[in-house]
Subunit: 281 residues, 2 copies
Amino acid sequence: MMRYRYKSYAPAHITGFFEICEHSDPKLTGSRGAGIVLEHGCVTEAEISEGNRVEINGMLEKAPTTRLVMESLAKRPVFIKSNFDLPIGCGFGLSGAGAVSTALSLGELFGLNMTVNELAGFAHEAEVMNRTGLGDVIAQVHGGLVIRKEPGAPGIGVIDRVSVASMKVGIVVFGEKSTQPVLEDADMKRRINKAGKSALKSLLKKPTLPNFMDLSKEFALGTELISEKARDAIEAVEASGGLVAVAMLGDSVFAIGGFDVLAEFGELRISRIQHGRARLI
Amino acid sequence: MMRYRYKSYAPAHITGFFEICEHSDPKLTGSRGAGIVLEHGCVTEAEISEGNRVEINGMLEKAPTTRLVMESLAKRPVFIKSNFDLPIGCGFGLSGAGAVSTALSLGELFGLNMTVNELAGFAHEAEVMNRTGLGDVIAQVHGGLVIRKEPGAPGIGVIDRVSVASMKVGIVVFGEKSTQPVLEDADMKRRINKAGKSALKSLLKKPTLPNFMDLSKEFALGTELISEKARDAIEAVEASGGLVAVAMLGDSVFAIGGFDVLAEFGELRISRIQHGRARLI
């Protein structure tokens, strides 16, 4: 029986710290660093249609990263509908989540005979081409607290993980922040890469959740990729004994513990560390 | 606060087909092939104790693979308790599940500052040394329908995945089968490696669940790693339109669909494809 509609899920991903790794080949471009894959994320439905359309949370959108995946993989016009349960552009890797869930749905819809890494590779490339992300897709096809040891698309980049249980992650969003300008500022890139490299080295020596959170917080403070509001929230949550850092690249704060204090700074969303990953549903 | 007891989960893993890849270094030893990671599996608790003990499903056991992990990682005597929800020695990769869940629990109990791959590496090595398994651990730290493209411990072996949803997997167990004698029979090894290599090549060309199941069934028939009872069950389930194969290395049959027919051959257990993986709980 031929089906005309397939659905996939992809988790959100919060990068705590990172190092930008550029290369002439987008499959080898990416980032080193570490981040938490979340149960929240997106569900994308792909359906045979009269013309190509992308709908994000019920609105027709340009969605360049998802669109590039669609143009690369769809053999006929399709209607892509992605629904996200976290705000877009705030550091949750949702362009990657949209792109990889689109790739998995299209793989099934058109019987493309590609593995998960092959399909997700298109999502990684689309992220790199559009400068919307560098390391979310490889984390999203793995799950957990992912250490990105070497950059690149799934199957090319090298990952490991910090051993953690499914802990609750509290999130407060202050505003949007675009990845693109940061990736184009040479001074900022140097600062990021110096801080990111050193944080990764420290995490590999002591791969624990508290150390990941501390290194992420120091990365945000050291690179000054942090708003005043985020700085205030971090100080307060820290004073209460919670572990807290900034979602890169976004103006959002994430915490393990200290949720009561964090809730004083804005709408508190509670997610969990996702040990699963992007997949057909 | 110092805790004296930690628990981890590890999923079962059914190999459908495989190729044995030996090397003088146990970390580089392993198998190529493909298999399904299941939601069923084991939970292991590690606790500071007066002397080293390993309890499996409530009985003190030798459990050489888990014991080797314990001896490698524990800094003080510990009591390891593993509980399995599938029968041991029947093709579900449970020696690997016990070993990797032990490694993760000990990592936390003793604050070993190791990543998931580093801890799981001890479980992989213990499997290889005891000849209880070759490719289960790397699959169990990844989850899904795992393709083992290159052999080795987690972080060394190369994996990819067939894109699948969380489908139900039906299982009927006919009896035990030890991995060790098969790994020591040179003729059998040649047959396995020829059939396994060819199956992997075919799966990578068409990485779909039905193709994985077909290639697995052909592998069991071609290598004659199949009992009469399993052969009868496979013929019947296949005739009813189900996808069915033998769990390697065990005398068990697993199926996607055709559960009513499969249930006529023995106690039917229903699990699901696990998209998560071994982790602290």
